[in-house]
Structure formats: structure tokens, C-alpha cells
Symmetry: C2
Subunit: 332 residues, 2 copies
């Protein structure tokens, strides 16, 4: 039979039935991820230990945990496992992204493929993908007849792959429309936020009919997050972003600030084709109002998220935690 | 909400509740795979349509369907979906393997990364991974309180990744032991056969206590399959194998025929280090009895599989179908 050592680890700790405060659940999620990475099978431990040295901000885990809050103001232990699974899945996609973009820095440390080679990095991404699905599939549903987390997650993940493929297929495509851009970022970013919201919702005690409102709010959070990220790629410094900035234009990824700039500055397309330095491109996008336009879009989606939250069932604590995440994601 | 068009397709055909003859179920499995590949979302359809041009022999699907045979001599529609999922998963691993090995031919056609580039191939592999999990997670269990297919598959897949990593980490390692070799091929090949047997078993009406016997038989089939494949890499022609032969030595993959040859021919290690052509290596391995030794190992595992089948519950038809697959896999 298959070695279940990883799962056993997650199953072992005491709080397996205990309901938890939100902050405790988030801390436990971070600990679980660290434990899974640091005690992975020896074959892959050099890679996972390297990854354990740097962690993300955990916004997907926080979103999942907030959505999982019950009427008692607490979350169940399944939510911690689901949050760890979503973060591991995110990590898996980052590893493959970095191989594809040949990025050398992620979360302030060397990327996996730079340190261990492309082959091992691809396989390590695959391993974390499987580990995440394995974790998710072991989470019992809230009620026997409810959907299992493990059953709802995979379909979002196919959307993520399609978003990535959409981005990849449109490398250097200066004709990319705003509509196509939104379709791509829905897949590559918002679908995982939806998955986190959906999983959290399934572990909460909200009425089943409210699923769509929460999943849609997750989409808005994801879009806001990506819009802000695309602004920051133009205006942040590398130290602050903990990853290379102006990476999008370097890799030919066409994002909304540039799409808008191309619309308003009719000379820009020609200039780009004739060759423009990164700094010149940045200046042109800023001058054409690309950042301001993208910020306005962020505000639009923030308002839509607010509207959804106002009609969603759920405690004030839950909504206030989700608003906090929305504001954090929107900060540019 | 996420677009479920792929799943809808599988759900649409008539035989969704009908139980099927084995051969019909296999044909339907092949059709489902073709349909899923040919009607994938437009973004990825060029790639999946290319893949649809060539199919494998479907030994994993056949194994799953055989294990799923009920006392009525038929299989349920869930088994067709599970068999399609296992084959898609296999396809996903092949795509990533080919990127890693930079292979240019697979199943007689150009590999995906040669035709569409490495980036798209990595993402397409990820997509098929997710699609396979998605399919598997939608299959209802035989009884409400039974394990779902979607819950048991992922842990086998982590083993597959570990096997691949083991192989990759031991590239060119002439000190690889027979024991380490078996550990690697257990992961990279036998775990997926185990997954197929386990999934089929869960959809059958065998007593739950017999799960281990079937899963273990799956492991034996997988080991036999890989041992034979490793022989064929030395002795087959490209036309017959529909993939490049002598690929293992070209990529530094050390397999049992070579491990045995290194043990018996003490001059071989030095010759390899000084540079040996592929044909010279082949001749040396054959002369040292590496193929004969590996064939003897195949017979050992074939006997163990026979012993397991003799104590397994299940109809004679089921056992005879599994014996047929074992013999087919063992053919060198």
C-alpha cells in the first residue's frame, strides 16, 4: 500500500476535533505547511526544505479560513487542512510558473529550478500538486451528504491551467483586449481564490444556497489581487515585492496598465516594436494613465465585492475579515 | 462558477447507469478519452487534439476495468470514467517526462513540447493532471459509506512523482543498486497500476478485505511492465516501440539490465566512463546476461502475481482477464 506518512503527520496533532479561533487556525495552517515541507520524503526534502525557508502572505489560506468561520466564531480542523492544501497548490503553480518564466527569485529566495535544475523543479511542482489534492481529499465533509472539498477543488484547478495557457499563448500580443485580459487573470489567479472561498464555505455552517455569493466574492478578491499585482509590477521596487519587478514586460506578459496605455497613446505600439527599455516602457505606461485606469478597475471590483458581502449571510466577524483581505489585496 | 463543460460531456452519454460488458467498457473508455481531448476548451484544444491522434495500448484502463468486474460479469459506468481518468493521468506524466527527457517522439507522433514548446507542454500536463482528478472526484462510490475513487488516487500520485524524482536524481549513477532501482520503478510505474487496481476494486463488489490483494497484484503488474519496458529499450527497434529506443542509456537512466551487467562484467564501469557508443553498451549488456537476468525477475514477479490471484476472491473471468494483462506486460 501507499505510504501515507505525509497525511499521518497532519492527522497526528492534538487539535484534530477542536474548533479554533481564526488567528490560531492561521498559525496552525502555517505550521502544517512548514511541517509538510520539512518532513517530506527524503527524495524530495532538499527541495521542499528550500521552499520552507520563505513563505507567502497566506492570503488564500486566510480567505478560506474566514469563509469557514461558523456561527460560533470558530473554524473546524478541516479548514486548517484545506487552507494548507490551497497554499500548497498555489506553491506548486508558482514553481511551474518560475520554470516557464525562468524567474530567478521568488519570495525573496532563489527559485527551485535555479537551485536544483529544471527537471527536478517540474517534478517537485507535480509532487506538491498531488500532495495538495491528497490533503484535500482526506478532509471529511461537514455533513455526510455534502460535497467533499476534494471533489470541488479540481475543476477550479483546470481553470488555473487554462488561465496560464492563455497568458503563455498571448506572450507579446500587443493586440490583447481588456476582455481577453480579464479572462486570463480570472483563470490564472481568481479561480484559486474561488476555490479557497468555495472550500471554506463548504466547511462553514452557512446555508447551501449562499455558495454562489461566496464563490463570486472569491472571484472579485482574486481579480483585485491580480490587478493590484499588475500595477505593482510597474511601480514597486524589487526589495518591496520580493520578486523581480517589471518582470511582465520582460516576459512579454501584457497586462491592463499596458493595454490601457496602448489605447490612449497611439504612438506606443510603434515605439515598443522599435525597441523600448524597461524604464522607458514604465514611464510611457505611467504617463498614459495605465496605472490610474487599473486602480479605477480595482475600485469597481472592490465595490462589487462589497455589494456581494452586503447580501451574503454570515457573521459580522466573517464579513469584516473578508473586507480586511479585500482592502489588503486592493492596496497599491 | 467554474465551467464544467468537460464533465458535462462525460455525463451526457446514455449509458450513465447501464452496466457494460468488459470490451464495450474499454471501447467506451477510449471514446471518452478521445472526446475529452478533442472537445477540450479552445485554449488548449490544439495541444489535446494533437495528443488525440495517437493512443496508448490502454493497459492501465484495461486493468482497472478488469478489477471493476462485478459478479454479474459487467462493469458500471463509473469504471469507464475512472479508467479514462487513469489514462489521462498517465498521459499527463508522459508529457512532463518528455519535457524532462527532451524526447522527440511518443506513441509514434511528435512530442508536445517539440510541436508547441516547453512552456505550453508543462501547462498542458498540469491541465490533464487536474482534468483527471476532476473526473475521478465526480465518480460516486459504490455505496454511500465507501471510499471515493477521488480520495484514494492522489496518494498514489505522490508516489509517482517521488519515483520520477528518484530516477532523475540518479541520472548517470552507475552505483545504483537493484534495490534502489526497484524502489524507483515502484514509484514511477507500479504506483499508477496500483491506483488503477485500487480504483477498479472500489467499483467492484468484492469484499472490502480483499483490497490489499488486488492492490498488491497491481504492483506486480506494474513492476513486470517496467522490467519488460527496460528490456525492450535495449532490444526493440524504434518502429516497434513507437518511441526512441536505447533512450535510457542516452539519458543516463540506469535500469536493471545495466545494473546486472555492471555486476557481472567488472570492466564495464570503466568502459562506460571512458565513453561507449550506444550500440557498444547494448552489446555489453546483452553479453553480460543483463536481459536474461531481467527476464528472470519478470518471471519471479509473474509467479507472485499468480499466487496473489490464486488467493484473491473474484470470478474466473476477472482472473483470466488479469492473467492476460500480466502475460501481455511480461512479453519481451
Amino acid at each position: 500500500m501507499v505510504n501515507k506518512s505525509n497525511l499521518a503527520l497532519l492527522n497526528a496533532p492534538a487539535p484534530s476535533t477542536e474548533r479554533l479561533e481564526y488567528d490560531d487556525a492561521f498559525r496552525l495552517t502555517e505550521q502544517e505547511i512548514q511541517k509538510l515541507l520539512k518532513t517530506a520524503p527524503p527524495l524530495i526534502r532538499p527541495q521542499t526544505s528550500h521552499l520552507a525557508q520563505a513563505s507567502g502572505k497566506g492570503i488564500r489560506a486566510r480567505a478560506l479560513l474566514a469563509c469557514a468561520l461558523g456561527r460560533d466564531g470558530l473554524v473546524g480542523p478541516g479548514a486548517v487542512k484545506a487552507a494548507a492544501a490551497v497554499e500548497l497548490l498555489h506553491l506548486a503553480t508558482l514553481i511551474h510558473d518560475d520554470v516557464i518564466d525562468d524567474a530567478d527569485l521568488r519570495r525573496g529566495i532563489e527559485t527551485l529550478h535555479v537551485k536544483f535544475g529544471r527537471k527536478i523543479a517540474i517534478l517537485c511542482g507535480d509532487y506538491l500538486f498531488c500532495l495538495a489534492f491528497d490533503l484535500a481529499s482526506a478532509i471529511p465533509p461537514r455533513e455526510a451528504d455534502h460535497n467533499k472539498i476534494g471533489s470541488v477543488l479540481p475543476s477550479y484547478f483546470t481553470e488555473i491551467c487554462l488561465g496560464e495557457i492563455g497568458e503563455c499563448s498571448n506572450t507579446g500580443n500587443l493586440e490583447l483586449t481588456e476582455r481577453e485580459y480579464f479572462k486570463i487573470i480570472y483563470g490564472k489567479t481568481a479561480a484559486l481564490f474561488q476555490a479557497a472561498f468555495h472550500a471554506g464555505f463548504l466547511l462553514s455552517d452557512e446555508p447551501p444556497a449562499a455558495a454562489d455569493i461566496y464563490v463570486e466574492t472569491g472571484k472579485q478578491l482574486g481579480l483585485i489581487f491580480q490587478l493590484a499585482d499588475d500595477c505593482l509590477d510597474f511601480i514597486s521596487s524589487q526589495g518591496k515585492a520580493k520578486k523581480p519587478v517589471l518582470a511582465d514586460c520582460r516576459h512579454g506578459v501584457v497586462t491592463l496598465p499596458l493595454i490601457y496605455a496602448l489605447q490612449t497613446d497611439k504612438t506606443l505600439r510603434g515605439k515598443i516594436k522599435n525597441g523600448l527599455s524597461e524604464q522607458e516602457l514604465k514611464a510611457a505606461v505611467l504617463a498614459a494613465g495605465g496605472i490610474e485606469y487599473t486602480k479605477a478597475k480595482i475600485r469597481e471590483h472592490r465595490l462589487e465585492a462589497e455589494r456581494l458581502l452586503s447580501i451574503a449571510p454570515g457573521s459580522e466577524e466573517k464579513k469584516s475579515r473578508l473586507r480586511f483581505l479585500l482592502d489588503k489585496a486592493a492596496a497599491v
